[in-house]
Symmetry: D2
Subunit: 397 residues, 4 copies
């Protein structure tokens, strides 16, 4: 029997926000020390919300030491080293910048901000902080799905040849019912955009991540099919924005229900995108197809453990897309989990995300994706909106 | 035992062209009198090509009485009542107009013409001919696929509610190889356009047919990934344009390899389109999804006997897309074929197409889709090309 | 221009039976001279039924020169060289033996006979006829499905290594409704067996064909879930046995609704089988999976243009079943039809079957599968029934 | 703000075993207090292995307070109330019976025991313990998969009508390589059986659970394709039995590689089963289909978040299997996790399992499935083996 290893350094974490992302991130924080090779002994020190009672209840439920109703004092505490920002988009900039300035490492949910201007300020703050050894990362969780990591790897290894076409859609249906109320996610001043920002940002990031090509310009249009909705009734529980009680009053929907756009990558790829919350029957249909000169891939998050790969170098008469179960130990992130065929769920990639974040903190490097990456996605979103306002004309990013 | 029925009137047919479409149409002409309730006793009188020997061989192979090297004399014969035009797009206008003026009913392959101007002249000729009882039809064969007919019926019956979104792609990969030669299908002066015209026209027609909405305007772009190719070597066999020998000289590709565009339907739907011959691994991936306020459908020609239907009126907890095998006797066109589950192939819808055409001739009505429908698709193709040349700006049709 | 080729020899064909198989075989006979390289100019001389009026109508519908109500005189005619036997199983032996003795080449539907004894007499007659240059073939049409041909080829080429396991099911649901009447297909004295004989025979043949292994013994059981059904009302149309009007009287079902069995192949494979007409929702679910030491394949006739192949020699981390669209020119039977991705239907393999039959007649060789092959399948069916009557104990074939 | 709730009672847990199941159960124990409505505050007190160093390392990794090399002293501790038995099958009986006698609630991995005799003794101990308020449960985790829970519910609600047929297979391929060594899972004296016990037990339980029918008798056979394998080299890590280093010596494989059997349920269903570790390309292909007189279902664990349901009461022309994403809040177990379409993984059902176990402990009722259920599955396994040794003759359970 060998001596026990040196104890790991302790790292105190505070999470700001406790609705849907609060549940998922908390699960990841509870898990990350126990999967693979941990770099820290993390402490779930505090969870902040806007209402003290609800924050305390959430802290108990999700396994945090305290629940508080103000995030500001947390930035002054020495036992908190990391701030995980999960609030609606309109408070990302304020919280993240303050935390970075206070010397806290910051993980921030996507889209990075409500506007390009905010994202620029956040990125500047992140770069200033990095110079002082303070790390920041934007939480594009789909990068951490093993099948998507494998897709990127196949492209990077040249298995697709020259990447020529991408088609990426993200289809949901949770607001098809016209009685679904006007939650913060449907208000431009809270969320910045609708389907475009919430889920369009995911497919922009994923398409660029997989192909290694950045969008140079776009042409797009947006649409709001249900133009008025009941206001949200007084809320008693967590504020996911994904469900709510309706009141009897109505208000105007100020974000898009669907957005479509196409663009050009800096490597010559022609890419098409669609984000919709009105695709009835599709629950989380984030689908990406990439066609290259030597191979193709196809992915659908509704079957998140599968990657379909066509290797154009095999003989025609026996070729076809192969359904790779992305559960092999060799696939990115899989090795620390279960045997082949024992699939992962929506939450596992969040653990991989923390592993990247904490690994970077431990190693003294910048984690990926950076706030600058988040800013670039914000610029694409902005270009789509400008194109939509300008007869869909091609708009540079 | 009952007396034998009255003999059916005889109808003489000539087919112009004998490559890929010649094989399929001939199969349909040989079959149509024997499926369901025939309206005529058809005679396969003549097949015309450009080379007498090849035309004679094709006539023998495909079951036509004669093979000739000039279509013009056929228009003067009394034993020919129908002309089926299967040539490359640059001769449709000349042949179809001449045939209609000669009083022959005309079935013409799609896209109707090489340009809007030609399509307008053809439509004018068709309308003049109709006034004299002479019928014309453009061969958008995918309308006749039972699953697509069922899709249209579900929309027409209100099962999808208000149709809001369409995504239609047609993906092939037969010219991914840069050594594939510059056949007529890759020359703008022969074919008018590339993927956009050849397969883009199919999804434009199908999307409009299923939804009952016509496109009002579009924004689009086109791309040619392989800009030069070997010239075609001297050809000895049929001229499908789908395969050929390469010579050692090269020439410029003058059509698109891929086209993407989105547009608005006159019923408010937001529709996206992509046609590509560069989608490696997709052989005939004509896929259409329609989302409405009450239901959704999804179709992929690579599984042509299936329609996926989501009926939003069922309870959430047991709902999902259902895979309807479109082989039920109640499905459009199926009743005269095989029992449920015994699927149809690529060629069966061509028989349905002839049934519509011959039924219209027999009933003295205009078949559907008309040359005017073909013209409208041509106008959409033209608007896409104009948008592509104008920074993808929205372009009215 | 070359001189026209020598005319092909003429071959007169008579078909006995005109219900479901009559429609399919007639379609194939009308088509076979026009696909690939024909060996004969076939004449569709006569169609025989039991009722003169219905036979005449069927002959008109399906394109035969005459319709007659007695098959016997046909055997004496010099203008008939081939007899295609499509009647219910209880008359196969009488017709086929008489035809062979009259010197006619015989194609006979499956299962070859109602009993092993009949099949033995038919096989003896076939062998005697072969000695005189008269050919015979049993119509296991699924062998001619390109995906199944490709499966066999992969096994034969060693791509699966040692074949170890087969699971084959054939699932239909057309008699789930207890009001479906007692047609000849549900009467043991007409059909010999139920699901076991009708569709079980297909999967036995296909499993043996693909693997090249013959079953040595089986253990099985059979079940009749609906034990009584309404008698069939007087019939006015063709007698497919697949649909009928119900009378008010009931009778006992004397065949199985479902049969399950497993067995051992002579190459060591463990094979499982299930045939059911009670698998609600499955219309023609003939599914076969084969696992070998180096590869696996999977097929489902409901997606008949696909073969799924797992090549165990590829690296684990990028491996998976690949969906081969069995529409490549290199796939068995495909080359004479349409381009890749343009799928075939239920009827095309019947043309391939005639090509094999006519090719054998032309070449003076025995076509495959032979009556002896049909007899061997009959022996397997018999062994399953004997095992079922003997506590499912292992029963040699 | 309301007062904080009463603190939950504390419950101390010990886990015996720390390989594959140790990782999964530990993850579930870390999670269970934070999902839904916890009933206890659980403490992960101790993890026991056979080697002190490895147990200590596993305890650190998986989040247990101590790691020990002897489970016996744990039974005497007052701070341990629950024993979770995850060892190879040959020690289940000893540990579980001792723990129950010591008054510990016991959760025991499946199959319950190595032999029927052991399972009988365990069941007797469980029943004696239950009389003293001590609970026991066998860990058939697949019952807790939401799609399987939904399947059961549909059957229980009568949506399938009379259940007539079940086909259940469990296909893996991790020992196809003949160089895979002779781990304990391939030794009859350690594991009791091979594929039959390990994965066959899962599909027996699942089929019975979903249909509510118990097997009355079976006919079966087993096969070992690779009869000798290299012995396992000295082991340094955890002992999953799923991977190992090979030594140069070989030994006899004493368990089955594959088992096939069919049987009759007490409600009249005809059920077929196959368990194989030799199905190349299938990683965790636990597939179940159930056909009833009014509906059918189909499930494949490789797509664990989907249930396919055919509702026979819908009109034929629009009917088909529908792909239900079993991620709706109404589906069993889902409500405490993520929104629809955000799938679960292999580990989540283990949390549901603990919720059932802890709920039963809290409520003073017996959890399900019981040791008696585990015994019944053991009796089925035994009957299959007896049938296999008796020419596959039908063998009562």
């Amino acid at each position: 029997m060998s001596a026990p290893p040196e104890p790991l350094p302790e790292l105190g974490v505070a999470v700001i926000g406790h609705s849907f992302m609060g549940a998922v991130h908390s699960h990841a924080w509870r898990t990350v020390d126990h999967v693979g090779t941990p770099r820290f002994r993390t402490r779930r020190v505090a969870l902040a919300g806007r209402d003290a009672g609800r924050a305390a209840a959430a802290a108990r439920q999700f396994g945090w030491e305290e629940g508080v109703d103000d995030w500001r004092p947390l930035l002054e505490r020495d036992d908190i080293h990391v701030v995980d920002v999960l609030t609606p988009g309109d408070s990302h900039a304020e919280i993240a910048i303050a935390a970075l300035e206070a010397g806290k490492h910051v993980l921030c949910e996507k889209p990075l901000a409500k506007t390009v201007e905010e994202a620029e300020r956040m990125t500047a703050a992140a770069e200033a902080a990095a110079a002082r050894g303070v790390r920041s990362m934007v939480a594009f969780n789909y990068r951490q799905v093993p099948a998507i990591g494998l897709a990127r790897q196949l492209v990077a290894d040249g298995r697709l040849g020259e990447v020529r076409q991408v088609r990426a859609v993200y289809l949901q249906d949770w607001i098809v019912d016209p009685e679904f109320p006007l939650t913060w996610r449907l208000q431009k001043d809270r969320s910045g955009a609708g389907a475009l920002g919430d889920i369009g940002s995911h497919i922009i990031d994923a398409a660029q991540f997989i192909t290694g090509q950045r969008l140079l310009g776009v042409s797009g249009t947006v649409e709001t099919f249900v133009k008025q909705r009941p206001l949200e009734a007084a809320r008693t529980g967590a504020n996911t924005g994904l469900s709510a009680e309706a009141s009897t009053e109505v208000g105007d929907v100020t974000v898009d229900d669907a957005a479509v756009f196409f663009g050009r990558g800096d490597g010559g790829a022609l890419m098409t995108f669609e984000a919709s919350r009105m695709a009835l029957g599709r629950k989380n249909g984030m689908r990406i197809e990439v066609n290259g000169s030597q191979g193709s891939i196809a992915f659908d998050f509704e079957s998140m453990n599968e990657l379909h790969f066509f290797d154009g170098t095999l003989p025609d008469a026996e070729n076809g897309f192969r359904r790779i179960l992305a559960t092999d130990p060799a696939h990115p992130g899989v090795g620390n989990w279960w045997p082949p065929g024992h699939g992962l769920g929506y939450d596992h990639p969040f653990v991989h995300e923390l592993q990247e974040f904490l690994g970077a903190v431990a190693d003294g490097r910048d984690p990926s994706p950076s706030f600058a990456d988040g800013l670039q996605v914000q610029q694409v979103l902005d270009a789509v909106q400008r194109s939509a306002e300008n007869s869909s004309a091609y708009t540079e990013i």
